[in-house]
Symmetry: C2
Subunit: 243 residues, 2 copies
Amino acid sequence: MLTKSEVKYIQSLQQKKFRDELGLFVAEGPKLVRELLVSGHFKCQELFLTGEMKELTDPAFPDARIISPGEMERISGLQSPNGVLALFQKSASVEFNPAGKISLLLDDIQDPGNLGTIIRTADWFGIENIIASPATADCYNPKVVQSTMASLGRVNILYTDTEAWIRQYPHFPVFAASPKGSDIGSLNPPAEGILIIGNESKGIRDSLISRADQLLMIPGKGAAESLNAAVAAGILLFWLTGN
Amino acid sequence: MLTKSEVKYIQSLQQKKFRDELGLFVAEGPKLVRELLVSGHFKCQELFLTGEMKELTDPAFPDARIISPGEMERISGLQSPNGVLALFQKSASVEFNPAGKISLLLDDIQDPGNLGTIIRTADWFGIENIIASPATADCYNPKVVQSTMASLGRVNILYTDTEAWIRQYPHFPVFAASPKGSDIGSLNPPAEGILIIGNESKGIRDSLISRADQLLMIPGKGAAESLNAAVAAGILLFWLTGN
C-alpha cells in the first residue's frame, strides 16, 4: 500500500523543481530500470513493481515494493504504465578535461525527446562528456530518462554557464553545426574538440558561434531548411568519430 | 464564428479514421502553413486565423476566416495554439520507379515524431520517395505534419504492402540498417538502392531482411544498444548521398 503522501511525493518528481529539491528522478519500465540498476551509476532509492512483475525483482535490489496496478497508474508518468517504477538518486555532474577527445556542447536544446536522443547517440559513439547550457532541457526529465534507454548512466552531463566554461580552454578546437559552415565532405575530421549543437529554432548563440574555429555544414541536396538537432548531432558525431 | 459542427469536424481530423474518410489533414502555425501554401503541393480547403495573425493572410488564399483565440483553442491540436490553422487536402501517393536513386523503405516506424523527422531528413538529402508499410505511423498525423516542417509537400510517401512492392524489383539493390551488418566505414556507398529502416523496438521483419543484399552497420564505440531510428536514417542517408 502506498500512502497518499508517498503518491504525492513520487508524482512531484515529474517537475524539475522537486527533482532538484529531493535529488531524485523517476525511471520506468522493466528494461530501463534493470539496466540502470545493473550499471550502478545511480543509487536506487526505491523500486515499485506490480504483482505480475515480481519475477523481475533484481537480486541487487531485494527491497522492491509490490503495489497494485491502480497504484502504479497513480505514480506513473506514462500513458501506459508498464509495471516497474524506480526512484534513483541524481548523480552530481563532474568537471572534465576535454583534451584528446570529442565532447558535445548543447546550447539550449529545448525538446526533452531531442535531448534524450542526443544522449543516446553520444553514448553510441563513445562520447563521454556533454556540457549543457542551463536552459537546456533537464536530463532527469522523465521524457529524457525514458528516451535515453539507459545511456543516461554512461554519459557525464555538466549543466553550466557554457560561455564561461569554454573560456577555460582558449586554444582548444571548437566546432559548431551550422548551415552556413563548410561542407564536412571536404574536411578531415579532427581527433579532439568541442562540437556545439544549437537550439532547435534559434540555432547557436552568437557568442558561442564566434568562438568556433570551424562551422560544420552537413551537405544536403533537397529543399529542407534544416535538420532536426538530434539527427544533425548524430551525423556530425559519426563523421567526427569515424577517423 | 465557427458552428458547433464545424468545430467537431475539424477536431475529428486529429484521428486517422476521419482524415481518411474526409481526405483532409490539419497543419498549424504561420510558418508551416505559409510554406505548405507556397509549395502548392496540397490544395488548401480552409484557412483559419486569429485576429492578430491577419497580416499573414496570403494573397494566394484570400478567403481566410478570422476566428477568436477561444475558437482557435477549440480546433487546435497544439498545447499552445499559434493563431493559424489550415485544412489541406491529402495528396494521393504516387507509384514511382526506384532506378538511379536512393529511396527509403520504412518497416513499421511507429512514433509520429520519428516519422516526421525521417521525412524532414529525407527531404534534406534530396530523397524523393518513401515506401511505408501500412502499420507505419500516418504521415498526416498532426504530430508528423508539425515535425516535418513542410517537407511533407516535397517527399512522395507511398503506403503499401512493402513485401509485395519490393518483389516488383527482384534485382534492384536493397540495403537494411542493422547492428549485425557491415561497418559502413569499410564500404563504398552505392548510387542507387532501397534503404530499409525498421521498427523502433522490433527492427526489420525477417522477410525484408532476407531480401537485403547488404546489411549496413553504423560503427559505434560506446555501450548504447542501438540508435534512434531517425538518427540512424540520417547517418545512412548522409553516407549514401555523399558520393
